[in-house]
Symmetry: C7
Subunit: 73 residues, 7 copies
Amino acid sequence: MVDKPLDILNKSLNSPVIVRIRGGREFRGILLGYDTHMNLVLDETEELNDDATVKRKLGTVILRGDNVVYISP
Amino acid sequence: MVDKPLDILNKSLNSPVIVRIRGGREFRGILLGYDTHMNLVLDETEELNDDATVKRKLGTVILRGDNVVYISP
Amino acid sequence: MVDKPLDILNKSLNSPVIVRIRGGREFRGILLGYDTHMNLVLDETEELNDDATVKRKLGTVILRGDNVVYISP
Amino acid sequence: MVDKPLDILNKSLNSPVIVRIRGGREFRGILLGYDTHMNLVLDETEELNDDATVKRKLGTVILRGDNVVYISP
Amino acid sequence: MVDKPLDILNKSLNSPVIVRIRGGREFRGILLGYDTHMNLVLDETEELNDDATVKRKLGTVILRGDNVVYISP
Amino acid sequence: MVDKPLDILNKSLNSPVIVRIRGGREFRGILLGYDTHMNLVLDETEELNDDATVKRKLGTVILRGDNVVYISP
Amino acid sequence: MVDKPLDILNKSLNSPVIVRIRGGREFRGILLGYDTHMNLVLDETEELNDDATVKRKLGTVILRGDNVVYISP
């Protein structure tokens, strides 16, 4: 059985994910939604430092899929 | 229930949002409109410094979605 | 009521706008036209220095939408 | 009346234009043709130095629209 | 006989692959899925150092195809 | 009469062209073919130094249109 | 007669090719397949140093067309 990328996103709804974007920045939040461009809606979002400590709390954010390197459920 | 990214934008109309664009610059303004490319119309827009103080008042701006990293309602 | 980005451009026709492009350069001119890619036609265009003084007068220019960061009417 | 970007290009056929591309380089030539991607055909093309003096004569060139920042008729 | 890129991905399902992304970073994992944009689902993913030692264990990740340089089954 | 960019390419078939790509590198070769993306087939291709001397002989190459800045017949 | 870029790729199947990607890296391998995006399948792939010596043996790789600068059969 094949797991399509969007299937994995679907299974991850309402669960925490880590998202790395171009330039190396990372965000952690609860995945509330997504679309076919991999634009993401995260809740309780935290921007992380390199050592995975919290740099900034951002609440709800819409992250553009264009900048995503990977999403880790 | 899933929150699509554009649904969240729709719910944020006429409310303040923070927008971070590529390169790290941030803008704060009232979301007046958007389209499916995530081009945004902001009113009472302020460009912010890294410490979230106001760098420049810009009034109404049309921000191109291509440059958006995230939108935080 | 929602203001679509292209509606705002339409309302700004024949009025002065400021356009910032990637890399930080800014232009000021009278908006004569645009298309759905946000390619713009400006008249009496001036390229601006960081302190908003005029660096160079360019007359009529066609600015490619791809490079636009924001347009401020 | 609105001047669409491609209308302005059309009016500029067989006339001199200045084209700035990403990275800041500028070209001056006679506009012989274009297409909807803003790919341009220039004749008697000269690459310019920052002070607008001629750096190199290039004759006919096809300039890809992707790299264009602005075209000034 | 020709091996289309997506055929090779299909044959590599449930097998280990190495993925290099723009900027030179490399990941190693079990290929669980992919789509036509070369978005990939990897399991037991490890981010690698330049000397191919493990830098970080990431578990399941969705890697955006946009950033992929090559995939080596 | 308007010369579309692809018309000029068509007229240049089997003739020498110079191609500059992003980053400033230049190639000289005989244009054997092209497609609508401006992907090019060059024969007897030479990569050039800044002073237009030959840096390397490459024979036949397929150059991706995405990287092309200009083509000079 | 015109040689379309994809025709040349087709003629090069099962033959060695050199592929340069953005950033200057080069790969040498046997072309096993390709698609219309110029995604390539190479076998017996070697990553090359600037002096064309072998830096690393990679076996089979799928190279994304987006990063290709040129392919030399």
